[in-house]
């Protein structure tokens, strides 16, 4: 594991915020009053950002990454198109990020979340909770078995709909790598109409959130597969990182 430790030392590569959505985007109305108006304070990362929580000691259940069965504790499957979502977590240096927590949450097949604030009239599925979690393997791979979430309307402009999507939260190995994003599905026409997807202005960047249908991983007569790879911030790695102060 020596390599793993070396990889986790040193300052983080500064975040390229041009790749990310701008905090203020009037097309997404809620962002208007929830975006800082003053510039962020940029500095080199410190130990506070270069260290982070680990979850190896936490108790994970056998069904935690199976959203078809985890809400009913294995008693009955959720309604919907069965899909496998799989991918790899790597950093900007293209090194795998092993043993890191990946958490997802999503609407059910009708587009309804199991959340006390969701009042959409699509019914709850008694056998679907809508969240899952897993730890990446030694090569950074993860897998979830779930159902394809439904699209749903939301209050923004007169008639806005969210495309089918799965929310993804990842830690990496340090607090400064923390990231939340959303996975969209190849071919969904609603992606082009969604003000939240459109907070990413560069179409090539938005396309990085669109998971392709992956027939090679699909299981005949069982589920389709979608691949979603994730890139987290990396560390600066040069021979000059350990130079003596002031040299």
């Amino acid at each position: 594991m020596t390599d793993f430790i070396t990889q986790d030392q040193g300052p983080l590569i500064p975040r390229n915020r041009a790749l990310h959505p701008a905090p203020y985007d009037p097309g997404y109305k809620t962002s208007v009053s929830r975006s800082p108006s003053l510039p962020l304070l940029s500095m080199e990362s410190s130990l506070s950002e270069e260290t982070g929580p680990t979850f190896g000691h936490n108790k994970f259940g056998a069904l935690d990454n199976n959203l078809i069965l985890n809400w009913s504790k294995g008693a009955a499957p959720a309604v919907g198109e069965r899909i496998l979502v799989h991918g790899r977590v790597v950093d900007e240096n293209n090194r795998p990020v092993p043993n890191t927590l990946v958490e997802i949450w999503q609407a059910n097949a009708g587009g309804r979340y199991r959340h006390k604030k969701d009042t959409y009239f699509a019914p709850l599925d008694p056998n679907f909770g809508g969240c899952g979690r897993t730890i990446t393997d030694e090569n950074g791979y993860y897998e979830f078995l779930t159902i394809r979430p439904g699209a749903y309307p939301w209050p923004n402009r007169g008639n806005d709909w969210r495309p089918m999507h799965i929310h993804v939260a990842i830690y990496g190995h340090s607090f400064g790598q923390r990231l939340i994003s959303q996975m969209y599905f190849e071919g969904d026409p609603l992606i082009d109409h969604c003000p939240i997807a459109a907070t990413i202005k560069d179409r090539a960047q938005l396309d990085r959130l669109v998971a392709p249908l992956d027939f090679a991983k699909s299981r005949p007569l069982d589920f389709l597969a979608y691949k979603f790879d994730i890139v987290l911030r990396g560390r600066r790695q040069t021979m000059f990182e350990n130079k003596m102060e002031g040299m």
Partner: protein
Amino acid sequence: MVQKLDTLQETPSQTAGPYVHIGLMPTYAGNAGYYDEEIGISPLAGDVAGEVIEVVGSVYDGTAWAMRDALIESWQCDAKGVFPGHEGADPNFTGHCRFAANAENGEFTLRTVKPGAYKGRGGVENAPHISLWIVARGINIGLNTRIYFEDEDNDSDPLLNRIEQHPRVQTLIAKKTGYGKYRFDIRLQGEGETVFLDL
């Protein structure tokens, strides 16, 4: 054509949305018992060394409304200034907590250990602080900030010293309200806007 770089680009962020709680805090979202063990319930995993404190506050939007749906994660070192996982760290302290604004009044409470100071790169002393990461509907990329404490020596902290407008330093300093109790409000926009970080 110039040579190609081998480095990759970070995955773009998207808002955590209004239902982030079902994913990260199922019990808060009304789905208690979803997992055998929920992550981030408390950074205190037993008898911890140091002073246990409570930090109470709200996250205000640009209209000064206390947001009901903000979710915050914290990360910090232990009372001796050692980060969990490092040699000599308090084995009963995880350093990590998840907490959310109360759906009724928008107030959050973080119960943790008061962190110690630590020496950073080049031997520079960092004043005691807790790192925060704030997400909610309408926040397109998680906001980073820090809690410092008014009853600590913050004079030589390298981050606070980088804030050009001195009154803005106060936006990162928790005010003592009682024994082991502090107030820390976060203002996303407008008057008294919190200093947010890009580290």
